[in-house]
């Protein structure tokens, strides 16, 4: 005990501690200098990395990372003749909007990010928007599709994918043009739940612009049986049946229609048919179903970083082991928006709070062509800060595979219309 006391006296301990603190204090500026020399922009990705939306969450993360990897390979983002690297930080919303808001706040306060890349779900995006507003940090959302995100007129959030009400509405116009003999009437089934209802409303509101007469608009509860609704529509016999719903309802629409021996000339569904599980569940009965996407690897767009849409798809295939869908593409394009805005802003890292507000203004002025398509954000109206430029591409399941059928410049196969009767 005496020996220990001699070696570890209070005086020695305090002296040693003081030296250690002094040494670390002296060391810290050198670390800061090192960081300042290799100044980087900091971007935070907030998405679902666990919970029920983990698959979609990873899709968004992969999209954002594809841009981060591509820009890293170029040496970083170009600002005033120099290139600056981009450091990525990740926050998990655990598939819950409230947790998403907390994670976004942590990315801003603890990691000091200059910009955020938005969540997979529209719900989380809506929850994160007030955090962006509070800390004046811009966010670029590569996935949110609900029009409710943009109805709130978010000052600091920008969306790459057109809201679902615009794409579903426009898609009816594309379908009407492809149909031969020309389709005249449409019936809309809309499931009474978020996203599905908005999709259905898009179909309903887009019918007039597409030159179609609305035969009926049926809002159905998610728990309801579809036989009465399908029987009613069969009695009206419209040319097109358009459905706003998630894949379970879409599968049930096809099954119920077949069990009632009713097949419209065209059956269009917005979301879900590109999920392989749809065709897997229905087998040959899935054939002929039409869907809507905002991007495909076959579109003819290109940019300087990724090259053509096909080049991007090949790069993604190499890194991710599968063909990218439009969400991954839109997330990668979010990075292109950031790179362009930083270049125009001309401010080197680290950005001050004033610079971040200026960055937001620069993003708002975006007007670029990318492999994903044109990107320009709305400055007013119900789609404020959403990019509604891309024209939706119609896809149809043919022989179990999803192929682009319209508009004509994007088509890889002829559109099957009218659909043959059930065998």
């Amino acid at each position: 005990m005496a020996i220990i006391d001699r070696f570890f006296s209070r005086r020695r301990f305090l002296g040693g501690s003081a030296m250690a603190i002094t040494a670390s204090a002296l060391g810290m500026p050198s670390v800061r200098t090192a960081r300042a020399q290799a100044a980087t922009f900091k971007a935070g990705v907030i998405t679902s990395l666990s919970g029920e939306n983990i698959l979609g969450g990873n899709l968004t993360k992969q999209g954002y990372d594809l841009w981060a990897d591509a820009i890293k390979a170029k040496g970083g983002v170009e600002v005033a003749g120099d290139r600056f690297k981009v450091e990525m930080f990740y926050g998990d919303d655990q598939s819950s909007p409230a947790t998403g808001a907390d994670a976004a706040e942590r990315l801003i306060v603890q990691n000091g990010v200059d910009v955020l890349f938005g969540p997979y779900t529209s719900g989380s995006t809506i929850a994160v928007q007030p955090i962006c507003q509070k800390y004046q940090v811009p966010m670029i959302s590569g996935s949110a599709e609900s029009p409710n995100v943009w109805k709130a007129k978010p000052e600091f959030n920008f969306g790459i994918i057109p809201a679902v009400d615009t794409t579903s509405g426009l898609s009816l116009g594309v379908l009407a043009k492809l149909s031969n003999p020309a389709a005249k009437t449409v019936a809309v089934i809309s499931v009474n739940e978020p996203f599905s209802k908005e999709t259905g409303e898009g179909f309903r509101d887009g019918a007039k612009a597409a030159g179609l007469e609305l035969a009926t608009y049926e809002l159905v509860p998610p728990e309801g049986d579809l036989t009465p609704v399908i029987s009613k529509i069969a009695a009206l016999n419209p040319d097109i049946v358009a459905v706003g719903g998630h894949e379970e309802v879409l599968i049930n629409v096809v099954k119920t229609s077949k069990s009632l021996n009713y097949r419209p000339k065209a059956l269009i569904m917005h979301y879900g048919i590109t999920n392989p599980a749809f065709a897997q569940a229905l087998g040959a009965d899935a054939d002929g179903t039409t869907g809507v996407v905002v991007w495909l690897p076959t579109v003819s767009y290109k940019d300087d970083l990724f090259g053509t849409a096909k080049d991007f798809a090949q790069m993604a295939q190499k890194k991710l082991g599968g063909e990218p869908d439009y969400t991954a593409a839109a997330c990668a394009a979010s990075g292109l928006v950031l790179g362009d805005a930083l270049k125009r802003l001309g401010k080197k890292p680290a950005l001050t709070p004033e610079d971040r507000v200026a960055l937001k203004d620069a993003i708002a002025e975006t007007d670029i062509q990318t492999f994903y398509g044109p990107i320009k954000f709305e400055k007013d109206g119900p789609h404020y800060h959403d990019n509604i430029q891309p024209v939706p591409v119609l896809v149809q399941i043919q022989g179990g595979k999803t192929v682009a059928v319209g508009p004509k410049e994007a088509a890889a196969a002829d559109y099957i219309y009218p659909l043959p009767a059930w065998k």
């Binding site: 728990e223 029987s231 894949e247």
Partner: protein
Amino acid sequence: MDLFLQTLLNGLLIGGVIATFTIAFQLAFGVLHVIDFAVGGWVVLGGYLGYYVTAWLGLDGFIAIPLAFVLFGAVGYLIGPVLYNVRNSRTARPELMALALSFGLFTLLRGGMLTAWGFNTRNVTTTLSGESLAIGPVTVPLIRVVAAVFAAAIAGGLFLFLYRSRYGLAIRATAENRHNAALMGVNIGRLSANVYGLYAGITAMAGVLMGAIYSVNPEVGLRYTLFAFFVAVLAGLGSVEGALVAALLLGVIEAFVSTYVGASYSLLAIFTTLFLVLLISPRGILRRGL
């Protein structure tokens, strides 16, 4: 007129479909005195069995129906005594404890299915999937007819079993007064296990048909639990024969409201019916419930 006839048929067939998973639910309540939240879980498990029988073994979905009865009947037989012991424990409010246990079981089944089989929606294919029969202006979906016949057969079979066999007498005696039944020599614990096994087996069989008529994923179980509960309230809790009548009534209401008023009002119409029945006849439409 054509649409009217089609709507009436749709309604009766929807009722038949709902009845498939509510008849045994009523029997389990009558004996165990537990509102089993897990009913939707058994339906979905049956649906998954049907899917794997078709997808892995390449067999017709109908083959899965007897398999579902054997497999989930055995599982139910093992779970039954646990539920019985909780329901008859000496803790305060054992009926609430049993309700909580069945809710926990439902959550466990749902979570287990999500982990094991993911979120994707599956389909059960049978020889009658998508097949229909045209009778005049009316189209009859054959798979739904199978479900309605199945419900009628189960209801008839249970009725005969309960009223024409000694064991059925013991079940009815237990449902009426379990203490007196025990005094008469009925082994209540074993009878509860058998009844829960019978219920789980029949409900899983109905699940195969649900997978063939609709589709199956772990999230749809809650829907079946809710509809079983709606029918039970309308029929009077525990009334097996009332379940068939109540399911048909709910089906016809849903079909007519969806066709002639609007599908978004169908649940409102169902809830209004439940409210009125509870107000006017709390023991159910046949006044035979508890």
